[in-house]
Protein backbone atom coordinates (compact mmCIF):
# COMPACT_ATOMS: atom_id res chain seq x y z
CA UNK A 1 0.00 0.00 0.00
CA UNK A 2 1.33 3.43 -0.90
CA UNK A 3 1.00 6.18 1.66
CA UNK A 4 -1.32 8.92 0.62
CA UNK A 5 -0.08 12.49 0.99
CA UNK A 6 -2.49 14.34 3.29
CA UNK A 7 -4.89 16.93 1.96
CA UNK A 8 -3.21 20.34 1.76
CA UNK A 9 -6.00 22.26 3.52
CA UNK A 10 -4.17 25.60 3.38
CA UNK A 11 -4.18 25.43 -0.42
CA UNK A 12 -7.73 24.07 -0.60
CA UNK A 13 -9.01 26.97 1.52
CA UNK A 14 -7.65 29.50 -0.97
CA UNK A 15 -10.02 28.10 -3.60
CA UNK A 16 -13.13 29.07 -1.61
CA UNK A 17 -13.89 32.80 -1.93
CA UNK A 18 -16.47 32.78 0.88
CA UNK A 19 -13.79 31.77 3.38
CA UNK A 20 -12.23 35.21 2.87
CA UNK A 21 -15.33 36.81 4.36
CA UNK A 22 -15.56 38.14 7.88
CA UNK A 23 -18.69 38.11 10.04
CA UNK A 24 -18.94 40.34 13.13
CA UNK A 25 -15.27 41.18 12.57
CA UNK A 26 -14.22 37.56 12.63
CA UNK A 27 -13.14 35.21 9.85
CA UNK A 28 -15.97 32.98 8.67
CA UNK A 29 -15.79 29.51 10.24
CA UNK A 30 -18.01 27.42 8.03
CA UNK A 31 -19.19 24.30 9.85
CA UNK A 32 -22.48 23.69 8.05
CA UNK A 33 -21.45 21.60 5.06
CA UNK A 34 -24.04 18.93 5.87
CA UNK A 35 -26.60 21.59 5.12
CA UNK A 36 -24.87 23.01 2.06
CA UNK A 37 -21.21 23.16 1.13
CA UNK A 38 -19.22 26.12 -0.12
CA UNK A 39 -18.17 26.32 -3.79
CA UNK A 40 -14.60 26.62 -5.07
CA UNK A 41 -13.92 29.36 -7.62
CA UNK A 42 -13.35 26.63 -10.25
CA UNK A 43 -17.06 25.77 -10.06
CA UNK A 44 -18.16 29.40 -10.18
CA UNK A 45 -15.82 30.05 -13.13
CA UNK A 46 -17.12 27.06 -15.09
CA UNK A 47 -20.70 28.27 -14.74
CA UNK A 48 -19.83 31.83 -15.65
CA UNK A 49 -17.80 30.66 -18.63
CA UNK A 50 -20.72 28.57 -19.84
CA UNK A 51 -23.13 31.52 -19.67
CA UNK A 52 -20.62 33.81 -21.36
CA UNK A 53 -19.67 31.50 -24.22
CA UNK A 54 -22.15 28.68 -24.91
CA UNK A 55 -25.55 29.17 -23.32
CA UNK A 56 -28.51 27.81 -25.28
CA UNK A 57 -31.29 25.35 -24.58
CA UNK A 58 -30.26 21.70 -24.82
CA UNK A 59 -31.51 18.92 -27.12
CA UNK A 60 -33.36 21.42 -29.35
CA UNK A 61 -31.33 23.81 -31.49
CA UNK A 62 -29.01 22.80 -34.32
CA UNK A 63 -26.87 25.90 -34.14
CA UNK A 64 -23.34 25.77 -32.78
CA UNK A 65 -23.89 27.07 -29.26
CA UNK A 66 -26.92 24.80 -28.80
CA UNK A 67 -24.74 21.84 -29.78
CA UNK A 68 -22.10 23.03 -27.33
CA UNK A 69 -24.62 23.42 -24.51
CA UNK A 70 -26.00 19.93 -25.20
CA UNK A 71 -22.50 18.46 -25.24
CA UNK A 72 -21.68 20.16 -21.92
CA UNK A 73 -24.93 18.97 -20.34
CA UNK A 74 -24.52 15.37 -21.53
CA UNK A 75 -20.83 15.50 -20.64
CA UNK A 76 -21.80 16.47 -17.12
CA UNK A 77 -24.07 13.43 -16.95
CA UNK A 78 -21.10 11.25 -17.90
CA UNK A 79 -18.77 12.85 -15.28
CA UNK A 80 -21.27 12.79 -12.44
CA UNK A 81 -22.30 9.20 -13.23
CA UNK A 82 -18.70 7.96 -13.41
CA UNK A 83 -17.96 9.71 -10.11
CA UNK A 84 -20.31 7.29 -8.30
CA UNK A 85 -19.26 4.27 -10.33
CA UNK A 86 -22.11 4.15 -12.87
CA UNK A 87 -21.39 1.64 -15.64
CA UNK A 88 -23.50 3.46 -18.22
CA UNK A 89 -24.30 7.06 -17.16
CA UNK A 90 -25.96 7.80 -20.50
CA UNK A 91 -28.79 5.44 -19.50
CA UNK A 92 -28.52 5.42 -15.72
CA UNK A 93 -28.01 8.95 -14.47
CA UNK A 94 -31.01 11.27 -14.19
CA UNK A 95 -30.53 14.95 -13.39
CA UNK A 96 -33.08 16.22 -10.90
CA UNK A 97 -33.45 19.27 -8.67
CA UNK A 98 -31.83 17.69 -5.61
CA UNK A 99 -31.64 14.45 -3.63
CA UNK A 100 -35.14 15.12 -2.30
CA UNK A 101 -36.57 15.12 -5.82
CA UNK A 102 -34.61 11.98 -6.65
CA UNK A 103 -36.16 10.14 -3.69
CA UNK A 104 -39.62 11.45 -4.58
CA UNK A 105 -39.06 10.16 -8.12
CA UNK A 106 -38.27 6.67 -6.84
CA UNK A 107 -41.23 6.57 -4.45
CA UNK A 108 -43.68 8.02 -6.94
CA UNK A 109 -42.57 6.29 -10.12
CA UNK A 110 -41.11 2.96 -9.04
CA UNK A 111 -43.22 2.75 -5.87
CA UNK A 112 -46.42 3.78 -7.60
CA UNK A 113 -45.95 1.17 -10.32
CA UNK A 114 -44.71 -1.70 -8.19
CA UNK A 115 -46.10 -1.50 -4.67
CA UNK A 116 -49.44 -3.08 -3.82
CA UNK A 117 -51.57 -3.13 -0.66
CA UNK A 118 -49.94 -5.47 1.83
CA UNK A 119 -46.42 -4.80 0.50
CA UNK A 120 -43.90 -3.35 2.92
CA UNK A 121 -41.21 -0.67 2.66
CA UNK A 122 -38.33 -0.85 5.14
CA UNK A 123 -36.83 2.49 6.21
CA UNK A 124 -34.74 3.51 9.23
CA UNK A 125 -35.33 5.75 12.22
CA UNK A 126 -32.44 7.96 11.17
CA UNK A 127 -33.73 8.91 7.73
CA UNK A 128 -33.96 12.53 6.62
CA UNK A 129 -37.53 13.67 5.95
CA UNK A 130 -36.65 13.39 2.23
CA UNK A 131 -36.52 9.60 2.57
CA UNK A 132 -39.56 9.43 4.87
CA UNK A 133 -42.24 11.79 3.62
CA UNK A 134 -42.36 10.52 -0.01
CA UNK A 135 -43.05 7.03 1.37
CA UNK A 136 -45.58 8.35 3.88
CA UNK A 137 -47.36 10.11 1.01
CA UNK A 138 -47.35 6.90 -1.01
CA UNK A 139 -48.59 4.86 1.95
CA UNK A 140 -51.45 7.23 2.72
CA UNK A 141 -54.64 5.28 2.16
CA UNK A 142 -53.02 2.52 0.09
CA UNK A 143 -52.50 -0.20 2.68
CA UNK A 144 -48.74 -0.02 2.22
CA UNK A 145 -46.83 -0.97 5.35
CA UNK A 146 -43.85 1.11 6.47
CA UNK A 147 -41.33 -0.55 8.78
CA UNK A 148 -38.26 0.92 10.42
CA UNK A 149 -34.83 -0.27 11.46
CA UNK A 150 -34.12 1.12 14.94
CA UNK A 151 -31.15 3.25 15.94
CA UNK A 152 -29.25 1.89 18.95
CA UNK A 153 -27.71 3.77 21.88
CA UNK A 154 -24.50 4.42 19.94
CA UNK A 155 -26.35 5.90 17.01
CA UNK A 156 -25.86 2.85 14.80
CA UNK A 157 -28.58 0.94 12.99
CA UNK A 158 -29.78 -2.13 14.85
CA UNK A 159 -29.44 -4.85 12.22
CA UNK A 160 -30.05 -7.78 14.59
CA UNK A 161 -33.58 -8.29 13.25
CA UNK A 162 -32.87 -7.24 9.67
CA UNK A 163 -33.85 -10.57 8.10
CA UNK A 164 -37.11 -10.74 10.04
CA UNK A 165 -37.97 -7.14 9.15
CA UNK A 166 -37.26 -7.81 5.47
CA UNK A 167 -40.05 -10.36 5.20
CA UNK A 168 -42.55 -9.06 2.65
CA UNK A 169 -40.45 -5.92 1.93
CA UNK A 170 -40.21 -4.76 -1.69
CA UNK A 171 -37.80 -1.86 -1.22
CA UNK A 172 -35.41 -0.67 1.50
CA UNK A 173 -34.66 3.05 1.90
CA UNK A 174 -31.52 3.84 3.87
CA UNK A 175 -29.20 6.78 4.30
CA UNK A 176 -25.60 6.11 3.29
CA UNK A 177 -24.58 8.56 6.04
CA UNK A 178 -26.80 10.14 8.66
CA UNK A 179 -27.10 13.92 8.44
CA UNK A 180 -27.56 14.09 12.22
CA UNK A 181 -25.31 11.39 13.69
CA UNK A 182 -22.67 10.97 10.99
CA UNK A 183 -23.35 7.21 11.13
CA UNK A 184 -22.19 5.34 8.03
CA UNK A 185 -24.24 2.12 7.95
CA UNK A 186 -22.91 -1.09 6.36
CA UNK A 187 -24.75 -0.59 3.08
CA UNK A 188 -23.30 -3.65 1.35
CA UNK A 189 -24.49 -5.92 4.16
CA UNK A 190 -27.96 -4.36 4.07
CA UNK A 191 -28.14 -4.54 0.28
CA UNK A 192 -27.10 -8.21 0.22
CA UNK A 193 -29.75 -9.10 2.81
CA UNK A 194 -32.37 -7.04 0.97
CA UNK A 195 -31.61 -8.69 -2.36
CA UNK A 196 -31.69 -12.14 -0.78
CA UNK A 197 -35.18 -11.26 0.47
CA UNK A 198 -36.22 -10.05 -2.99
CA UNK A 199 -36.16 -6.33 -2.14
CA UNK A 200 -34.46 -3.41 -3.88
CA UNK A 201 -32.37 -0.76 -2.08
CA UNK A 202 -32.56 2.99 -2.50
CA UNK A 203 -29.69 4.82 -0.80
CA UNK A 204 -29.87 8.46 0.23
CA UNK A 205 -26.33 9.50 -0.66
CA UNK A 206 -26.72 13.23 0.02
CA UNK A 207 -24.22 13.12 2.91
CA UNK A 208 -22.08 10.24 1.67
CA UNK A 209 -21.12 11.16 -1.89
CA UNK A 210 -19.50 14.48 -0.81
CA UNK A 211 -17.34 12.90 1.88
CA UNK A 212 -16.00 9.49 0.91
CA UNK A 213 -15.58 7.33 -2.18
CA UNK A 214 -19.00 6.00 -3.21
CA UNK A 215 -19.25 3.26 -5.80
CA UNK A 216 -22.72 2.01 -6.61
CA UNK A 217 -21.36 -1.34 -7.82
CA UNK A 218 -19.41 -1.94 -4.61
CA UNK A 219 -22.31 -0.84 -2.42
CA UNK A 220 -24.68 -3.09 -4.33
CA UNK A 221 -27.56 -0.61 -4.17
CA UNK A 222 -30.22 -0.18 -6.87
CA UNK A 223 -30.86 3.56 -6.56
CA UNK A 224 -28.63 6.36 -5.27
CA UNK A 225 -29.81 9.93 -4.68
CA UNK A 226 -27.48 12.91 -4.13
CA UNK A 227 -27.31 16.70 -4.42
CA UNK A 228 -24.69 18.91 -6.07
CA UNK A 229 -24.84 21.70 -3.49
CA UNK A 230 -23.59 19.44 -0.71
CA UNK A 231 -20.54 18.41 -2.75
CA UNK A 232 -19.06 21.81 -3.67
CA UNK A 233 -21.47 22.31 -6.57
CA UNK A 234 -24.35 24.72 -7.17
CA UNK A 235 -27.88 24.57 -5.78
CA UNK A 236 -30.73 23.52 -8.06
CA UNK A 237 -29.34 20.24 -9.33
CA UNK A 238 -28.95 16.73 -8.02
CA UNK A 239 -28.87 13.25 -9.45
CA UNK A 240 -30.58 9.91 -9.29
CA UNK A 241 -28.49 6.94 -10.33
CA UNK A 242 -30.46 3.74 -10.96
CA UNK A 243 -29.82 0.43 -12.66
CA UNK A 244 -30.70 0.80 -16.34
CA UNK A 245 -33.28 -1.98 -16.35
CA UNK A 246 -35.12 -0.34 -13.44
CA UNK A 247 -35.29 3.06 -15.14
CA UNK A 248 -36.42 1.34 -18.35
CA UNK A 249 -39.42 -0.11 -16.52
CA UNK A 250 -40.44 3.03 -14.65
CA UNK A 251 -43.25 5.38 -15.72
CA UNK A 252 -42.61 9.13 -16.06
CA UNK A 253 -42.62 11.32 -12.95
CA UNK A 254 -43.17 14.86 -14.25
CA UNK A 255 -44.58 15.47 -17.72
CA UNK A 256 -43.65 18.14 -20.24
CA UNK A 257 -41.18 19.01 -22.95
CA UNK A 258 -38.08 16.91 -23.48
CA UNK A 259 -39.45 13.71 -21.89
CA UNK A 260 -41.51 12.40 -24.83
CA UNK A 261 -41.10 10.64 -28.16
CA UNK A 262 -44.54 11.62 -29.42
CA UNK A 263 -47.58 13.49 -28.16
CA UNK A 264 -51.12 13.40 -29.56
CA UNK A 265 -54.22 14.89 -28.07
CA UNK A 266 -55.29 11.57 -26.55
CA UNK A 267 -51.98 9.94 -25.68
CA UNK A 268 -48.22 10.31 -25.46
CA UNK A 269 -45.20 8.08 -25.86
CA UNK A 270 -42.50 8.76 -23.29
CA UNK A 271 -38.82 9.02 -24.20
CA UNK A 272 -36.39 6.45 -22.88
CA UNK A 273 -34.45 7.08 -19.69
CA UNK A 274 -32.86 9.25 -18.49
CA UNK A 275 -34.68 11.92 -20.52
CA UNK A 276 -38.05 10.39 -19.62
CA UNK A 277 -37.47 11.80 -16.13
CA UNK A 278 -36.19 15.24 -17.14
CA UNK A 279 -39.25 17.24 -18.14
CA UNK A 280 -38.74 20.85 -19.13
CA UNK A 281 -35.56 22.83 -19.66
CA UNK A 282 -33.05 21.32 -17.26
CA UNK A 283 -30.60 23.23 -15.02
CA UNK A 284 -27.87 23.42 -17.67
CA UNK A 285 -25.44 25.85 -16.06
CA UNK A 286 -25.90 23.92 -12.81
CA UNK A 287 -25.00 20.68 -14.59
CA UNK A 288 -21.82 22.38 -15.83
CA UNK A 289 -21.11 23.47 -12.26
CA UNK A 290 -21.90 19.96 -10.97
CA UNK A 291 -19.33 18.48 -13.36
CA UNK A 292 -16.77 21.09 -12.31
CA UNK A 293 -17.41 20.19 -8.67
CA UNK A 294 -16.85 16.51 -9.47
CA UNK A 295 -13.60 17.40 -11.27
CA UNK A 296 -12.51 19.43 -8.26
CA UNK A 297 -13.30 16.61 -5.81
CA UNK A 298 -11.44 14.15 -8.04
CA UNK A 299 -8.43 16.48 -8.01
CA UNK A 300 -8.52 16.42 -4.20
CA UNK A 301 -9.05 12.65 -4.23
CA UNK A 302 -11.98 11.24 -2.29
CA UNK A 303 -9.80 8.89 -0.26
CA UNK A 304 -7.72 11.89 0.79
CA UNK A 305 -10.86 13.93 1.57
CA UNK A 306 -12.17 11.11 3.75
CA UNK A 307 -8.84 10.73 5.54
CA UNK A 308 -8.70 14.46 6.27
CA UNK A 309 -12.29 14.65 7.49
CA UNK A 310 -11.98 11.49 9.60
CA UNK A 311 -8.84 12.88 11.23
CA UNK A 312 -10.54 16.23 11.90
CA UNK A 313 -13.64 14.49 13.25
CA UNK A 314 -11.47 12.58 15.69
CA UNK A 315 -9.71 15.80 16.70
CA UNK A 316 -13.09 17.48 17.28
CA UNK A 317 -14.56 14.58 19.26
CA UNK A 318 -11.49 14.48 21.51
CA UNK A 319 -11.21 18.26 21.89
CA UNK A 320 -14.89 18.67 22.76
CA UNK A 321 -14.63 15.98 25.39
CA UNK A 322 -11.27 17.13 26.82
CA UNK A 323 -12.06 20.84 26.96
CA UNK A 324 -15.78 20.79 27.76
CA UNK A 325 -16.14 17.49 29.61
CA UNK A 326 -19.64 16.54 30.67
CA UNK A 327 -20.98 19.96 29.65
CA UNK A 328 -20.98 18.76 26.05
CA UNK A 329 -23.16 15.91 24.82
CA UNK A 330 -22.16 14.50 21.46
CA UNK A 331 -24.61 12.30 19.57
CA UNK A 332 -23.63 9.48 17.22
CA UNK A 333 -21.03 6.72 17.19
CA UNK A 334 -17.46 7.28 18.45
CA UNK A 335 -14.99 8.53 15.84
CA UNK A 336 -14.02 5.67 13.58
CA UNK A 337 -14.52 4.03 10.22
CA UNK A 338 -18.31 4.14 10.42
CA UNK A 339 -18.61 7.80 11.32
CA UNK A 340 -18.45 10.91 9.15
CA UNK A 341 -17.82 14.52 10.08
CA UNK A 342 -21.23 15.46 11.44
CA UNK A 343 -21.14 16.59 15.07
CA UNK A 344 -24.58 16.99 16.61
CA UNK A 345 -24.13 18.36 20.06
CA UNK A 346 -25.79 19.70 23.13
CA UNK A 347 -24.10 22.03 25.60
CA UNK A 348 -25.41 21.90 29.19
CA UNK A 349 -29.09 22.74 28.84
CA UNK A 350 -28.54 25.70 26.53
CA UNK A 351 -30.97 25.48 23.62
CA UNK A 352 -29.45 24.85 20.18
CA UNK A 353 -30.84 28.13 18.88
CA UNK A 354 -29.07 30.05 21.59
CA UNK A 355 -25.81 28.16 21.02
CA UNK A 356 -25.96 28.91 17.30
CA UNK A 357 -26.72 32.58 17.97
CA UNK A 358 -23.71 32.99 20.24
CA UNK A 359 -21.51 31.04 17.82
CA UNK A 360 -22.51 33.42 15.03
CA UNK A 361 -20.80 36.20 16.98
CA UNK A 362 -17.60 34.17 16.59
CA UNK A 363 -18.21 33.86 12.86
CA UNK A 364 -19.06 30.18 13.38
CA UNK A 365 -21.84 28.77 11.17
CA UNK A 366 -23.60 25.77 12.69
CA UNK A 367 -27.13 24.55 12.18
CA UNK A 368 -29.55 24.48 15.12
CA UNK A 369 -32.76 22.50 14.99
CA UNK A 370 -34.12 19.09 14.09
CA UNK A 371 -32.17 18.76 10.81
CA UNK A 372 -35.23 17.48 8.95
CA UNK A 373 -35.09 14.28 10.99
CA UNK A 374 -37.83 14.75 13.58
CA UNK A 375 -38.41 11.01 14.17
CA UNK A 376 -34.70 10.62 14.98
CA UNK A 377 -34.80 13.60 17.35
CA UNK A 378 -37.61 11.84 19.24
CA UNK A 379 -35.46 8.71 19.48
CA UNK A 380 -32.60 10.82 20.85
CA UNK A 381 -35.02 12.46 23.30
CA UNK A 382 -34.28 16.03 22.22
CA UNK A 383 -36.15 18.65 20.20
CA UNK A 384 -33.06 20.19 18.70
CA UNK A 385 -29.29 19.88 18.51
CA UNK A 386 -26.58 22.24 17.33
CA UNK A 387 -24.85 20.58 14.42
CA UNK A 388 -21.31 21.34 13.30
CA UNK A 389 -20.39 19.55 10.09
CA UNK A 390 -17.07 19.26 8.35
CA UNK A 391 -15.97 19.79 4.77
CA UNK A 392 -12.62 19.44 3.00
CA UNK A 393 -11.83 23.12 3.73
CA UNK A 394 -12.12 22.86 7.52
CA UNK A 395 -9.14 22.69 9.85
CA UNK A 396 -8.34 22.37 13.55
CA UNK A 397 -8.55 26.13 14.01
CA UNK A 398 -12.23 25.95 13.01
CA UNK A 399 -12.87 23.36 15.72
CA UNK A 400 -10.98 25.48 18.27
CA UNK A 401 -13.12 28.53 17.45
CA UNK A 402 -16.26 26.41 17.78
CA UNK A 403 -15.19 25.40 21.28
CA UNK A 404 -14.30 29.00 22.16
CA UNK A 405 -17.86 30.02 21.20
CA UNK A 406 -19.42 27.17 23.17
CA UNK A 407 -17.52 28.26 26.28
CA UNK A 408 -18.85 31.81 25.84
CA UNK A 409 -22.41 30.47 25.45
CA UNK A 410 -21.93 28.53 28.68
CA UNK A 411 -20.81 31.71 30.44
CA UNK A 412 -23.74 33.74 29.08
CA UNK A 413 -26.41 31.23 30.04
CA UNK A 414 -24.84 30.07 33.31
Amino acid sequence: MTTLAPLDVETVRKDFPLLARTVHGRPLVYLDSASSSLQPRQVLAAMEHYYETSHANVHRGVYTTAEEATALYEGARESVGRFVGAADPERELVFVKNATEALNLVAHSWGGANLRPGDAVLLTQMEHHANLVPWLILAEGTGLELRYLAVDGDGRLDLSDLDRKLDGVKIVGVSAMSNVLGTIPPLREIADAAHAAGALVVADGAQAVPHFPVDVQALGVDFLAFSAHKMLGPTGIGALWARAELLDSMPPFLGGGGMILDVRLDRFVPAGPPHRFEAGTPPIAEAVGFAAAVDYMKSLGMTRVRAHEAQLTEYAVNALSERLGDDCTLFGPPAGDDRGGVLSLGFRDVHAHDLAQVLDQYGVCVRPGHHCAKPLMRVLGVTATARASIGPYNDEQDVDTLIEGLVEAGRLFA
Binding site: H24, V350, H351, A352, H353, D354, Q357, V358, Q361, P368, G369, H370, K374, M377, T383, A384, L412, F413
Partner: protein, 173 residues
Amino acid sequence: MTDLEDLYREIILDHYRSPRNRGELESPPAHRVEGFNPLCGDEVVVTVLVDDGHVTDIKFAGNGCSISQSSASLMSSAVKGKSLVEVRELIRTFKSMMSIHEATLGPDGDGDGEGSDEEDGRGDGDGRGPVDVRKIGELAALQGVVKFPVRIKCATLSWNALAQGLDEVQSGN
Protein backbone atom coordinates in the same frame (compact mmCIF):
# COMPACT_ATOMS: atom_id res chain seq x y z
CA MET B 1 -20.86 41.65 21.36
CA THR B 2 -23.29 44.59 21.62
CA ASP B 3 -25.88 43.00 19.31
CA LEU B 4 -25.79 39.82 21.32
CA GLU B 5 -26.16 41.70 24.60
CA ASP B 6 -29.08 43.54 23.05
CA LEU B 7 -30.71 40.20 22.26
CA TYR B 8 -29.98 38.49 25.54
CA ARG B 9 -30.88 41.30 27.95
CA GLU B 10 -30.80 40.58 31.67
CA ILE B 11 -34.62 40.52 31.95
CA ILE B 12 -34.77 37.87 29.22
CA LEU B 13 -32.14 35.71 30.86
CA ASP B 14 -33.93 36.12 34.19
CA HIS B 15 -37.26 34.95 32.77
CA TYR B 16 -35.47 32.10 30.98
CA ARG B 17 -33.75 30.91 34.14
CA SER B 18 -36.76 31.47 36.42
CA PRO B 19 -39.86 31.30 34.23
CA ARG B 20 -43.08 32.72 35.66
CA ASN B 21 -46.40 30.86 35.31
CA ARG B 22 -44.82 27.70 34.06
CA GLY B 23 -47.03 24.60 33.88
CA GLU B 24 -50.52 23.75 32.71
CA LEU B 25 -53.90 24.77 34.08
CA GLU B 26 -56.57 22.12 34.27
CA SER B 27 -58.41 22.04 30.98
CA PRO B 28 -61.35 22.46 31.12
CA PRO B 29 -62.15 24.91 32.60
CA ALA B 30 -59.00 26.48 31.11
CA HIS B 31 -58.61 26.63 27.33
CA ARG B 32 -55.58 24.80 25.93
CA VAL B 33 -53.64 25.70 22.74
CA GLU B 34 -50.49 24.21 21.27
CA GLY B 35 -48.04 26.20 19.18
CA PHE B 36 -45.27 24.78 16.97
CA ASN B 37 -42.25 26.35 15.40
CA PRO B 38 -41.57 24.02 12.47
CA LEU B 39 -38.18 25.66 11.92
CA CYS B 40 -36.60 24.43 15.12
CA GLY B 41 -39.15 21.98 16.52
CA ASP B 42 -39.96 24.13 19.52
CA GLU B 43 -43.36 23.52 21.06
CA VAL B 44 -45.36 25.60 23.50
CA VAL B 45 -48.60 24.81 25.31
CA VAL B 46 -50.60 27.78 26.58
CA THR B 47 -53.50 27.21 28.96
CA VAL B 48 -55.62 30.26 29.62
CA LEU B 49 -58.58 30.82 31.91
CA VAL B 50 -61.04 33.49 30.80
CA ASP B 51 -63.71 34.69 33.18
CA ASP B 52 -66.03 37.67 32.93
CA GLY B 53 -64.07 39.19 30.05
CA HIS B 54 -60.72 38.88 31.84
CA VAL B 55 -57.71 36.57 31.64
CA THR B 56 -57.87 35.38 35.21
CA ASP B 57 -55.06 32.83 34.94
CA ILE B 58 -52.51 31.64 32.39
CA LYS B 59 -49.70 29.11 32.27
CA PHE B 60 -47.29 27.94 29.60
CA ALA B 61 -45.40 24.68 29.11
CA GLY B 62 -43.20 23.06 26.48
CA ASN B 63 -39.58 23.63 25.68
CA GLY B 64 -37.64 25.98 23.55
CA CYS B 65 -34.84 28.48 23.36
CA SER B 66 -34.26 31.36 25.76
CA ILE B 67 -36.17 33.74 23.50
CA SER B 68 -39.31 31.61 23.15
CA GLN B 69 -39.32 30.67 26.84
CA SER B 70 -38.69 34.16 28.18
CA SER B 71 -41.23 35.63 25.78
CA ALA B 72 -43.85 33.17 27.02
CA SER B 73 -42.96 33.95 30.62
CA LEU B 74 -43.05 37.73 30.07
CA MET B 75 -46.35 37.36 28.19
CA SER B 76 -47.98 35.39 30.98
CA SER B 77 -46.98 38.02 33.54
CA ALA B 78 -48.15 40.84 31.31
CA VAL B 79 -51.62 39.51 30.49
CA LYS B 80 -52.64 37.92 33.78
CA GLY B 81 -55.59 39.79 35.29
CA LYS B 82 -56.06 42.04 32.25
CA SER B 83 -59.32 42.46 30.34
CA LEU B 84 -59.62 40.77 26.96
CA VAL B 85 -59.62 44.20 25.30
CA GLU B 86 -56.35 45.10 27.00
CA VAL B 87 -54.83 41.71 26.17
CA ARG B 88 -55.79 42.05 22.50
CA GLU B 89 -54.20 45.48 22.43
CA LEU B 90 -51.05 44.11 24.05
CA ILE B 91 -50.83 41.27 21.52
CA ARG B 92 -51.22 43.79 18.71
CA THR B 93 -48.55 46.07 20.14
CA PHE B 94 -46.15 43.21 20.75
CA LYS B 95 -46.56 41.81 17.27
CA SER B 96 -45.99 45.18 15.69
CA MET B 97 -42.82 45.51 17.77
CA MET B 98 -41.78 42.17 16.23
CA SER B 99 -42.44 43.36 12.70
CA ILE B 100 -39.22 44.00 10.80
CA HIS B 101 -40.86 46.62 8.64
CA GLU B 102 -42.01 48.79 11.52
CA ALA B 103 -38.88 48.30 13.52
CA THR B 104 -36.71 49.59 10.71
CA LEU B 105 -38.73 52.79 10.52
CA GLY B 106 -37.40 55.37 12.90
CA PRO B 107 -39.80 57.84 14.55
CA ASP B 108 -38.99 60.26 11.75
CA GLY B 109 -38.96 57.64 9.00
CA ASP B 110 -41.20 58.27 6.05
CA GLY B 111 -43.92 55.82 6.91
CA ASP B 112 -46.46 57.72 4.87
CA GLY B 113 -48.92 55.58 3.03
CA GLU B 114 -47.43 52.38 4.42
CA GLY B 115 -48.88 49.98 6.93
CA SER B 116 -52.36 50.85 5.69
CA ASP B 117 -54.10 48.56 8.16
CA GLU B 118 -52.41 50.31 11.06
CA GLU B 119 -53.63 53.82 10.39
CA ASP B 120 -54.63 55.00 13.80
CA GLY B 121 -53.99 58.55 12.69
CA ARG B 122 -53.10 59.46 16.25
CA GLY B 123 -50.28 61.86 17.07
CA ASP B 124 -49.08 62.43 13.55
CA GLY B 125 -45.31 62.60 13.55
CA ASP B 126 -45.21 62.04 17.27
CA GLY B 127 -44.97 58.60 18.82
CA ARG B 128 -45.40 57.05 15.41
CA GLY B 129 -42.19 55.14 16.01
CA PRO B 130 -42.08 51.38 16.22
CA VAL B 131 -43.77 50.94 19.58
CA ASP B 132 -44.53 53.07 22.58
CA VAL B 133 -42.42 51.11 25.04
CA ARG B 134 -44.05 52.83 28.02
CA LYS B 135 -47.17 50.79 27.31
CA ILE B 136 -45.48 47.41 27.37
CA GLY B 137 -43.15 47.55 30.37
CA GLU B 138 -40.73 44.64 30.67
CA LEU B 139 -41.75 43.32 27.26
CA ALA B 140 -39.62 46.05 25.74
CA ALA B 141 -36.65 43.85 26.64
CA LEU B 142 -37.57 41.70 23.64
CA GLN B 143 -37.11 44.61 21.22
CA GLY B 144 -33.59 43.44 20.39
CA VAL B 145 -34.99 40.27 18.82
CA VAL B 146 -36.06 42.18 15.74
CA LYS B 147 -32.42 42.58 14.71
CA PHE B 148 -32.26 38.78 14.42
CA PRO B 149 -35.11 38.04 12.00
CA VAL B 150 -34.89 34.25 12.31
CA ARG B 151 -35.56 34.56 16.03
CA ILE B 152 -38.78 36.58 15.64
CA LYS B 153 -40.74 33.34 15.29
CA CYS B 154 -39.31 32.19 18.62
CA ALA B 155 -40.53 35.37 20.32
CA THR B 156 -44.02 35.30 18.79
CA LEU B 157 -44.67 31.56 19.26
CA SER B 158 -46.54 31.83 22.56
CA TRP B 159 -48.26 35.08 21.54
CA ASN B 160 -49.73 33.44 18.45
CA ALA B 161 -50.90 30.52 20.57
CA LEU B 162 -52.55 32.93 23.03
CA ALA B 163 -54.23 34.89 20.22
CA GLN B 164 -55.55 31.64 18.76
CA GLY B 165 -56.78 30.56 22.20
CA LEU B 166 -58.65 33.83 22.75
CA ASP B 167 -60.20 33.55 19.26
CA GLU B 168 -61.40 30.06 20.13
CA VAL B 169 -62.75 31.11 23.53
CA GLN B 170 -64.59 34.09 22.08
CA SER B 171 -66.08 32.13 19.21
CA GLY B 172 -67.15 29.43 21.66
CA ASN B 173 -65.05 26.61 20.23
